[in-house]
Amino acid sequence: MIEAEGLTKRYGKLVAVDHVSFSVQPGEIVGLLGPNGAGKTTTMRMLTGFMPPSEGTARVVGHDIIEDSMAARRAIGYMPERIPIYPDMTVRGYIAFWARLRGIRRPAGHVEAVLKRVDLYDRRDTLIRQLSKGMRQRLGLAQALVHEPEVVILDEPTIGIDPQQVIEVRESVRELGRKHAVLFSTHILTEAEQVCDRVLIINKGHIVAEGDPGELRQQLEPGTQLYVVIGGASADQAAALLSAIPGVISVEVQGEGFNVSTQAGTDIRGAVFAQVSAAGYSLLEIRAVASTLEDIFLNLVSRDSQAEGV
């Protein structure tokens, strides 16, 4: 559905996206994962026809984005990072406008269907300025879907909304994967893991890793971190006790407890519990700390530079 070949975008000397190639198959959800400024939005903007690539091209449902831009644009539903709104239009008027622009002559049926799909049908006559942030997010999704595009491109669809709504949006993205080819960007690792069939990790304009999200995480995570709080012991006693457990790499004080880093693939939770109770202290809290994307990138980047012999 999407085949990108050597997509490149230069701003003067700065290369925002550097020869990026990838593909998205029908019915597949592909996540574009990367820190801010990695080139996610620029890549999407080239695919949607908003900006022409400096080099390379892409085909969307077989239509070249440069040679056959209009046909490619018709096949895409796009939700930019900041939801574009016309504050003075009604929900229905807004969706109908985008449907017409994308070539649907009598949009009423499409509008009704898509508003039911994103659960905004009850709000169809509300002015957009009166919608909450979460509803605007769903409105953004509705405009991207109203013309039933084969490809859906979503730029950071979960940014700036509350956790309950994040879950709803993730569910609707997963739902989309059944009918459409979906490309969506995020900087949250767990989100990519939950939602995508395949992840492309992008950093500084390059795709640095690609694959099944679970596998990628295992490959890239620098070990596991636990947060442990121990009662009845002084900080020094507790630190000494934790450091003595096999598999522990480092122990750092954090708040009233400790951040314990362990080697990859070892599970020390049982050992922690046994040691703490054997010493007569009480284990008040123990939980896994998910490694952040930054950790993974550090790992990835350091491995890259090792490989290059830098």
Binding site: G49, P52, Y78, P84, Y86, G93, R102, G103
Partner: protein, 240 residues
Amino acid sequence: MGTWIVLRRELSQYFTSLFAYVIAFAILLLTGILFNRELTVSMTVRPANPALVPSVLSFMLIFFAPLLTMRLFAEEKREGTLELLLTAPVQESGIVFGKFLGAWSYYTIVLLLTFTYQFILASITPTDIGHAFSAYIGIWLYGGAMLAIGIFFSALTENQIVASFLSMITLLILWLGDQAGLLIANIEVARFVRNLSLQGNFSTSFAAGLVRGEDIAFFAGVIIVMLYVTIHVVESNRWR
């Protein structure tokens, strides 16, 4: 196709926006007051001027036309809808024409409302309807040119106030060009400058009951050039 869809949205935007009604109200109120004064004058001093309302508008629109156009692109940029418009399967020219025609249609409707003054005048005193028509055709084109200039400035910035300020200044300068003769000693240069001003192609021709091809060509030319430049300004958003 894109033009028509954008035009429809813009026009309905005017009719659902309080601000547009306030502008229409202000135009009708001000021209109404001046028309009544003219009626009073016509009873004693001299016959009423059939081109009164268009002549008054030629100055008033310097301030009102930018208010109608400042929103058109500046708001799309600020709200991020321009990005979505530029990824829709329509040409930039369709978007620009649609917005221009939307603004011009709204202006045309307000202008037609002021035409009621002509009926009132005609019912009171014998009047030169041809003269009135000529002035109305003139101010209709004049308004179109002003709106095209306003659209250009709206496309330049995402700040509506900056857009309207820049268009007002520009329109004021183009209006003052009519008086180039007072400032420039060389008569040929002065005539040339005046011919390039908006008012210079209106005050002594359309407003005097004279419909001349060169004036129509001038206003049409301003509209075409400004829209052409605007299309390229809008297109340039893709390169940033």
